[in-house]
């Protein structure tokens, strides 16, 4: 093999073909300029919380892509309907994730709509589930002797509360909670939303 030119042309051709079929064609097919009617853009606070979500690496344990009922019982667990590409209209970068060490979070705002619950859980997950392996995020909180005007105090069971003083949520923790509460894709999927539903005919909702 002395002539590398045909080899290079063929390999570049295969690469170009694969890119066309696996990246460009699905990109054209799934490009959706229209956000779904039920989806609101993130507020400034929610977007800041989303940045916290990204910087803490939440996606290493939490996915944001509920599966179809044929694939996994995500609907039974309350994680929501199968997502479609339009659900991620305002998500950049997307936080789809692949690991499910923790539950899927695309609809966590609908499933767990309490700010207080999230603050407690972020401060110390074991305060709510003793079996939880999620890391605690105490550095997103402050321990103060007394709550001041406008502070959000975290409700804690006595064994997890500090000996004296109160735990107060920082702005980051409140932003993150606002983002988690905004995760709600319970509106019906757009009619033209494309997703892999196996052999189920289009529009045959469960």
């Amino acid at each position: 093999m002395n002539n590398y030119l045909p080899l290079s042309i063929i390999s570049l051709g295969i690469l170009a073909f694969a890119t066309l079929m696996l990246v460009i064609a699905p990109g054209i097919e799934m490009a959706r300029p229209e956000p779904p009617a039920g989806l609101q853009p993130y507020t400034v606070e929610e977007q800041r919380g989303r940045d916290v979500y990204v910087s803490m690496g939440c996606l290493y344990c939490h996915s944001q892509q509920p599966r179809a009922p044929e694939q996994a019982p995500d609907g039974e667990r309350g994680w929501g309907r199968p997502s479609v590409s339009a659900d991620y209209f305002y998500d950049s970068p997307h936080q789809l994730g692949t690991m499910r060490t923790g539950p899927d979070l695309l609809n966590v705002g609908a499933r767990l709509p309490s700010e207080s619950w999230h603050l407690t859980h972020l401060y110390q997950p074991r305060a709510i589930f003793d079996w939880s392996i999620m890391p605690a995020y105490p550095f997103l909180f402050e321990v103060k002797a007394e709550a001041e005007e406008g502070d959000v105090v975290v409700a804690l069971p006595p064994e997890f509360a500090p000996a004296d003083g109160v735990v107060v949520a920082s702005q980051e923790a409140r932003d993150l909670t606002a983002y988690l509460l905004s995760l709600d894709r319970t509106y019906p999927a757009p009619e033209d939303g494309i997703r892999d539903d196996g052999y189920r005919p289009r529009g045959d909702a469960e």
Binding site: N3, L5, A72, P73, E76, R77, R100, T101, G102, P103, F129, W131, S132, I133
Partner: protein
């Protein structure tokens, strides 16, 4: 000329031009062969012991000029009487203190990286192998002596029995059989070291760089820490992940079950990961130990000549 013939003629001319263009563009795409035969342009090396580069180190501090190498080489390779592939020259010199002294200079073919003797051969009888050894094909050699003249180290001679060029071969016939060259084997002072300089662990590489692994056992420790750590990590996560997936796919089992059952596997993963980390630290330590200055040079004692 009929119109038909003229048409054909035009078509032919057009075809010819097309061919010419195709050839031209083809030539532009083809890598051009570089011109050979520039002065001292080395021809491609011929096959030898793959992946090696033999070299010899002679520790002048250890040579006592006993000529054991000269004798054993002659016994091994049988050059004609009075001609030698290696020998030890002896010089009378002034040492650093200004006193007269003897200097031993063992000489043999250096098996140069760019041997000047090779390109001058008009019949390509002499060549260098991929393992660095320069040889003479004495069935092709015409005995012109160009290579003898080209060698700056006077390492070649015309064998006056065969009338062809002759030189040290690093006893490649012995190397191939796993033996040391005759001169290396017979050297009483251990002054000659032969080896593969591409192998960083070889005696010659260690002697040339002056850097050896201070604790060679750490190489094994590194290997086994990584292998065992990785095995624990891999199997723990594979089994745990499989069971976690099965639990998650079963809608009748709560999500917490999929978390709780992975805990022992995650703990095993931490053990495996810790072993691997330890292995990396051992490796870094071992490499750093080579880079530290080490092994003060052997003291050279000059014994004044009586």
């Amino acid at each position: 000329m009929t119109a038909e013939a003229e048409d054909r003629d035009v078509a032919d001319r057009r075809g010819f031009l097309k061919t010419l263009m195709a050839l031209g563009s083809g030539a532009a795409l083809m890598p051009a062969e570089t011109a050979q035969a520039a002065i001292n342009q080395q021809p491609p090396r011929r096959p030898g012991m793959a992946g090696k580069r033999y070299a010899m180190l002679v520790d002048l501090r250890k040579c006592i000029g006993c000529q054991a190498c000269t004798v054993s080489c002659s016994l091994e390779n049988m050059p004609p009487l009075g001609q030698f592939r290696t020998t030890v020259h002896q010089y009378e010199v002034q040492n650093a203190a200004g006193a007269p002294d003897m200097l031993m200079l063992p000489r043999l073919c250096n098996q140069c990286d760019e041997p000047p003797c090779v390109p001058v051969c008009p019949v390509q009888a002499t060549f260098q192998r991929e393992d660095g050894i320069v040889l003479v094909d004495n069935e092709t050699c015409v005995g012109c002596g160009y290579c003898v003249q080209a060698c700056p180290y006077d390492a070649r001679f015309l064998n006056h029995e065969t009338q062809t060029a002759d030189k040290c071969t690093f006893c490649e016939h012995r190397l191939e059989a796993g033996l040391l060259p005759a001169c290396v084997e017979s050297c009483v002072g251990g002054a000659r070291v032969i080896g593969d300089i591409l192998d960083p662990g070889s005696e010659i590489s260690v002697r040339m760089t002056g850097r050896a692994f201070r604790w060679p056992a750490l190489i094994n420790a590194h290997f086994w820490l990584i292998v065992v750590g990785f095995a624990i990590y891999f199997f723990a996560l594979s089994i745990g992940g499989w069971l976690q997936g099965l639990a998650m796919l079963d809608g009748t089992r709560p999500f917490s079950e999929s978390v709780i059952l992975t805990k022992p596997y995650l703990e095993a993963r931490s053990v495996g990961g810790a072993l691997m980390t330890l292995g990396h630290i051992v490796f870094a330590f071992n490499v750093a130990s080579i880079l530290l200055p080490q092994r003060a040079p052997e003291t050279v004692r000059t014994v004044p000549a009586e």
